[in-house]
Symmetry: none
Subunit: 200 residues, 4 copies
DNA sequence: TATGAATGAGTCTTCATTCAT
DNA sequence: AATGAATGAAGACTCATTCAT
């Protein structure tokens, strides 16, 4: 018995597949992979449970599809500003904007972020997604810096540190675990560090 | 209905409880919470399934017990050196040692770290463990810095950034995602940043 | 988590649900609630264990469904004759018929009666079923008596006593514990008592 | 391996066995047989779980032992007045006293009564207990009536009906399901019925 | 294509009973 | 005689996946 996964060509089919992805992503990122069952996903998508398995190999496949579709939006959205013209002088502004946009980003529902990250460590494919994404980001930022004439020395390492700093800062802001922490100061410190890293 | 969890006093019982914790921790941290079942844990511990529920309320309880026992070893083991005498002059050495010990730490099986972190986002109790641990660490380091005369200004924010830097560095080293990255350089940069943060 | 109990509309589904109810009722009333497991019920119904939980919340729910379906048949079936026209003169005949029909009733498998009654004292919902049923019956008979002009004085009490007498008699006949007892005489005595109660 | 049930001769052992019976009876009659586990019984009795199985074959055996010890107290305690001298003239007073004592009886915790009765229908041995007890009672009352010169005609049937009436009345009083019922009237009616049965 | 009913293996948990001490 | 730790079979329930329609 054949059980190929259909790659839908027709418009209606495509829409249906998208609805399943969206529903799966929404529920999984809200409630967690193991707490979401396929019946729920189907219902949320407004389709039957059976049809799910014509578009996706299994439940896991839905997660991966959601990741491909939305992963980039939710995680490391840092470089959305990459078409901005940059030079050494406005680099600080750029960093500041990056941080702000990251934080403001509508899609960073805390929960979405958290739940999906959970899968990173459990699921090789998910892990691989982030692995690649992080590498891409690092390289992209690396190239940007090169283009605007930043000193090449130890630049890859610096870029990695910079991304970590921003991520850590944003994470802290979004989840504000430390009640007594002053985020404005923190951001200033981070930017100062980055400036020193880049310009020296 | 009786359902008291026994707090074993006798030596053999204590050992058995420990064996269950260890088995649970090993399997869960290797294969993930949802992919580990209680029968496997019992078998790994060399006990019957029934006995597990005399020592633990439920499966989740085993995870938490493992976390309490090993969580501190595996995560943020940064401050193990806390009984070392510190002064401003050797602080850089201290930071360097921290990093080295963190990385060398036998228990940092990559998997352990990864799998458990996965639970943070799915399980409130696990999350709370890390939440508290991170806060404790921050405060501890904060106090150490105060004691050795570091400038109090924005110190909390700086400490948080420092911990993030170290964690990020170590994470990178352990998982060495970026093949072309020079970890020695990276460590130097991180230490340099920390030095500047503290001493200015 | 989805856990809606399906209320089947399609004919086949309805049949299946009925089969489960019947199987559950049969096994529970034969062997007792705690000695019947869901796998057996499913097997007896010719369905898988899983499907049971799409039609019923839990095992207990099956019992209640059986009770709703068959409870009225098995217990206090006294008033099945309620569409018979009554007057003071044929009331004795009516009582006699009641008793006969109760006893003849095919469905009064002794076991069914016994096993289910067992649940009355253990299960609130089952108890409530009989509680209500008994009250309904009492009121119904009360109204019938009123309609045909029976003296209202202490009538409720009398009705309760009458139902008790009939139930006790029938019970004795069905279970015939006392080998030396003459049921014909017993029935005559009961009817005589009832006649006196009503007509004085 | 031998596993005889010990019949304890020593005083301390006997006490222990009694404690287990009492604990079992208390818990089972309060919470039901299937909701009471042996660990609870042992704990309530202040003994270890293991020792239970030296005095009793199994859990069921504890129930039966409790039944033997307390069954007569709780059920049909009607004839406790059997050493009272009776004659035809005070028989009505006697019946009235029976009913009162039945109702007043400390041991008729509603729950005890109910829970144990539940077992009647599930457990052959329990059923047999009540079966025999009811027969004994019937015979005993039968003989008393004979002794005081009651007409022998259909007496066995009458006695059975009388016991049923009293039981039904008492049951109603204890559980008072019908809020609008006047128990004083009900009792009067029952006594009147009994008087007529006996004296005619 | 689509439905949603059906499957049944798998999971956690309980508890009567046994056994080492 | 006694303890209470240990056993492991059994049971209720879930859910990813398949199948009849």
């Amino acid at each position: 018995m054949i059980n190929e996964i259909r790659e839908p060509k027709q418009k209606r089919s495509i829409e249906k597949k998208e609805r399943i992805i969206d529903a799966g992503w929404k529920l999984i990122s809200t409630g967690g992979y193991y707490n979401t069952n396929t019946a729920e996903i189907a219902k949320e998508a407004g389709v039957s449970t059976g049809i799910v398995y014509q578009y996706f190999k299994d439940k896991h496949d839905i997660l991966i599809a959601g990741l491909s579709k939305y992963g980039s939006e939710v995680f490391y959205p840092v470089l959305k500003l990459d078409n901005i013209k940059l030079d050494k002088n406005n680099i600080i502004v750029m960093i500041s904007d990056m941080i702000d946009s990251y934080i403001d980003e509508h899609n960073i529902s805390k929960d979405v972020h958290a739940e999906i990250m959970a899968m990173v460590h459990v699921d090789d494919e998910v892990a691989s997604f982030f692995y690649n994404r992080e590498i891409d980001l690092t390289n992209e930022l690396y190239n940007i810096f090169l283009d605007i004439g930043i000193n090449e020395d130890k630049l890859l390492e610096k870029v990695h540190i910079i991304i970590g700093l921003i991520d850590n800062l944003c994470h802290e802001v979004v989840y504000h675990k430390h009640t007594e922490m002053n985020y404005k100061s923190m951001k200033e410190i981070v930017i100062e560090i980055i400036k020193n890293l880049i310009l020296n």
